[in-house]
Amino acid sequence: MYVKSKMTWNVVLPAENLDIKGLMLQKAIITRLMSEFAAKKASKDLGYFLTVTTVGSIGEGKVRQESGGVLFPVDFSCLTFKMLVGEVLEGVVYTIINKGVFLRCGPARNVFLSHTMMKDYRFVPGENPYFTSPKSSKIEKGVTVRFVVLGQKFVEAEKDFQALVSINGDYLGPIS
């Protein structure tokens, strides 16, 4: 689900970016904020960082003794994407193995649907492996699947989430 949040970050502006013209200073602060936001990629609480939507107030700058840079506290709103446990989402299958399938769901790439979480489906090996059910629905590469999120884990080193999902339930499964 998409989440809109209010945050306050401290933005440090290097001395060379300081400008006596107010507007240019404001632009430099916002640009710096956006680049730090982009570099952070994701957080455990908020999910994947998508964009800064609005910048609220920019606080008074404090000069940092060591570097000569100036630290500004900035209030802003941002948009993120987080998979919530119990949420129903859609993903596109990009890898199939005998243990299950990997899906891509928006910015999330490590969404795993285990074969134990797709009742009645059986694995069909081959050059283009797929899972099929007696009702003749097929889960193969490129197919969009509607699933429910069972759990997720944030991998700090990769700044990425791993999610476990299921299609056991009504109205879940491949979407035509």
Binding site: K4, A39, D45, F81, G86, V88, C105, P107, G169, D170
Partner: protein, 221 residues
């Protein structure tokens, strides 16, 4: 948790008008709980347990609690409890200054920013996160051109029946065609099924009409 415990053991207030009040009060969970616990001492230990379960369990388990309580007494009590547990399950992992958005709302915001990027990208210092494009394409996946304000208006009446913002976002994002689909995909709403069926049907019908009209408009253009 402390609050819950508190509710459970506050009963003295609620007293004896007890059994019927939860039925008539519907969503006023506090009163319902107090009254119930007071009147049925033998259930006192059971009910907080079911509370605890709901708090920690995923949305799907809401129904079970409901059944148990029907046996204990009137049907409305589970209705009152379930929403709070759902709300917790869904929004639990989010910081307090956060709100859930519908996909169409997110699509509008992200599209607006992408449109501005045509100009802004001339400045190499301005960067967007790597997830931006994937986030935008996921938000636009349904090809739903409906304005978020219109969709919000359509689902607005559901709030009167105790459906939370995040549940409305869930319903809208799933894009259900039938009422049964809503209850299957958002199981937390099941305890309110009887009261929600009508308003939900109206909302889904309106949404279907809106989508049809927009699709036709798109074709004609």
């Amino acid at each position: 948790m402390a609050e819950k415990g508190g509710k459970g053991y506050v009963p003295p207030k609620g007293g004896k008008s007890a059994l019927k009040s939860p039925v008539s009060n519907g969503d006023k969970s506090k009163k319902g709980k107090a009254v119930q616990f007071d009147s049925e001492d033998s259930f006192e230990s059971d009910i907080p347990k079911s509370n605890g379960e709901k708090g920690s369990a995923p949305a799907g388990k809401g129904g079970k609690g409901g059944k148990g309580e029907k046996v204990a007494n009137g049907t409305k009590k589970p209705t009152a409890k379930a929403p709070s547990s759902t709300e917790k399950t869904l929004v639990d992992g989010l910081p307090p200054n956060s709100v859930c958005l519908m996909d169409c709302e997110a699509a509008e915001i992200l599209q607006g920013i992408q449109d501005q990027m045509v100009v802004l990208s001339q400045d190499p210092d301005i960067k967007l996160p790597v997830s931006f494009d994937m986030g935008l394409s996921y938000a636009k996946r349904g090809g739903n051109l409906a304005k978020p304000q219109t969709v919000k208006k359509i689902f607005e009446p559901l709030k009167k029946h105790g459906v939370s913002e995040s549940e409305i976002c869930l319903i809208s994002n799933v894009g259900p065609e039938t009422v049964d689909e809503v209850f299957a995909l958002v199981p937390a709403l099941k305890p309110k099924m009887s009261t929600l069926k009508g308003p939900l049907r109206i909302a889904l019908d309106e949404l279907a009409i809106l989508k049809d009209a927009l699709a036709k408009l798109k074709e004609s253009i």
